[in-house]
């Protein structure tokens, strides 16, 4: 019993000692360049966008040479990966009915850029240059009728693109501790 009590105290003190140990001498403060390289989340205002530029014509080339068509289809549809072009329906159709298509439904063009830069091509993420990502973004936006074919996208023009569904999504709810998800749901 007594031994157990001593053991408990030793463990406790030991725990505190570990928690208060001086730095272990591993790691270092990252340099501003390293932080910049990892800071890949692009805001709707485009603050974090790197230099570079690209147009839809260049993007069509990148789409072919980087193997995008292999998964997304030569015409941005019909592959095993998500469809990248809105459904071909008469003008005036409810925009939500044109498909869950990122370069059509995204409220900001920066989302398209961020997604391509962060997650494509699958298993070869990070291999696209900034110019290629600008070009592919322009290509996808052109194919969805958002921008003209000769429009050049760069860090200044990309955030200014007015996406067709900019104001369509419902507001994201404010989370509050201890509050039901939806008042009065489901009865």
């Amino acid at each position: 019993m007594r031994l157990l009590r001593i053991l408990a105290i030793v463990l406790l003190v030991g725990g505190v000692a570990i928690a208060q140990s001086p730095p272990l001498g591993v790691g270092r403060t990252p340099t501003p360049e390293e932080i910049r390289a990892w800071d890949i989340s692009i805001s709707p205002t485009g603050t974090e966008l790197p230099p570079g530029h690209g147009s839809a014509k260049e993007g069509a080339q990148v789409y072919r040479t980087k193997g995008c068509a292999g998964c997304h289809g030569a015409n941005l549809t019909g592959g095993r990966a998500p469809v990248l072009v809105k459904a071909d329906k008469p003008a005036g159709t409810d925009p939500w009915a044109l498909g869950r298509v990122l370069p059509w439904r995204a409220p900001y063009a920066t989302i398209v850029w961020d997604y391509l830069n962060r997650g494509m091509p699958l298993n070869r993420e990070g291999t696209l240059t900034a110019d290629e990502v600008y070009a592919l973004t322009a290509f996808l936006l052109f194919k969805n009728g958002v921008i003209a074919e000769d429009e050049v996208l760069d860090a200044q023009s990309l955030p200014k693109v007015k996406m067709p569904m900019r104001d369509a999504p419902a507001p994201i709810p404010e989370w509050k501790h201890g509050t039901p998800r939806l008042k009065g749901y489901p009865y």
């Binding site: 990892w38 800071d39 989340s41 692009i42 805001s43 709707p44 205002t45 939500w96 990122l102 439904r105 995204a106 409220p107 900001y108 920066t110 989302i111 961020d114 997604y115 962060r118 997650g119 369509a168 999504p169 419902a170 507001p171 994201i172 709810p173 404010e174 989370w175 509050k176 501790h177 201890g178 509050t179 039901p180 998800r181 939806l182 749901y185 489901p186 009865y187």
Partner: protein
């Protein structure tokens, strides 16, 4: 941001050992009660921002309907009977201990009720052990089966008063036409009641399919 400051944390260990690679070694973000997609594995950086960037998988949470959007983050109250459940076989009429699990992203499970007559009557189940916040909570209910075909169901209520709905209740709330009631998706992570149909021969089936 409110959720980040409330109870979110960065995990470096689990069950007395470092977080395993398949669980996100060395660091994993935990956002208790929220959909799994928020629990980022292999955490490399945290960046506090003043607007919703809607990048990558956040984009998938955008919805046309505000009510639909409100159900997409925090897991609703959910329970499921694990015994007897679909695919199992009862030997015949007589005594059975109905067992199951309940949980909720709203906090701890406060109450679980069981119905053995297709939802007409509900009786309180017994909570086994302590109902911790965000944790799976075991429940049991003693039942004497009379050998007739029936449906058994469980219904969870969490500590903030949210009640687990039936599919029919959700369909009514969202005005889903009756002929679509069997195929619609319950918004958010489907937390609707799972009914099991017990046939006279003791075989147990999914009562929705």
């Amino acid at each position: 941001m409110a959720k980040a400051m409330d109870d979110s944390f960065v995990a470096y260990g689990m069950n007395g050992e470092p977080v395993r690679p398949q669980q996100g070694f060395p660091l994993r973000l935990m956002v208790p009660g929220f959909e799994g997609i928020f629990h980022t594995k292999y955490l490399r950086r945290i960046k506090a921002v003043d607007t919703y960037y809607t990048n990558y998988n956040e984009y998938g949470h955008l919805r046309q309907d505000a009510k639909d959007a409100a159900l997409g983050y925090q897991i609703g109250p959910k329970s499921v009977i694990t015994y007897p459940s679909g695919g199992q076989q009862l030997a015949g009429k007589g005594f059975y201990e109905i067992r199951g699990l309940a949980w909720s992203g709203g906090g701890a499970v406060r109450k679980v009720e069981v119905s053995t007559d297709g939802g007409k009557n509900w009786k309180p189940a017994e909570i086994r052990g302590t109902a911790y916040r965000m944790a799976h909570t075991k429940f049991t209910y003693n039942w004497n089966w009379d050998g007739n075909e029936t449906e058994i169901l469980s219904r969870c209520t969490d500590e903030i008063g949210q009640v687990q709905p039936t599919r029919a209740q959700v369909a009514k709330f969202f005005n889903v036409p009756a002929d679509h009631e069997h195929s619609f998706n319950v918004p958010g992570n489907d937390n609707s009641i799972q009914p099991w149909r017990i046939a006279r021969d003791g075989s147990v089936h999914n009562a929705i399919a």
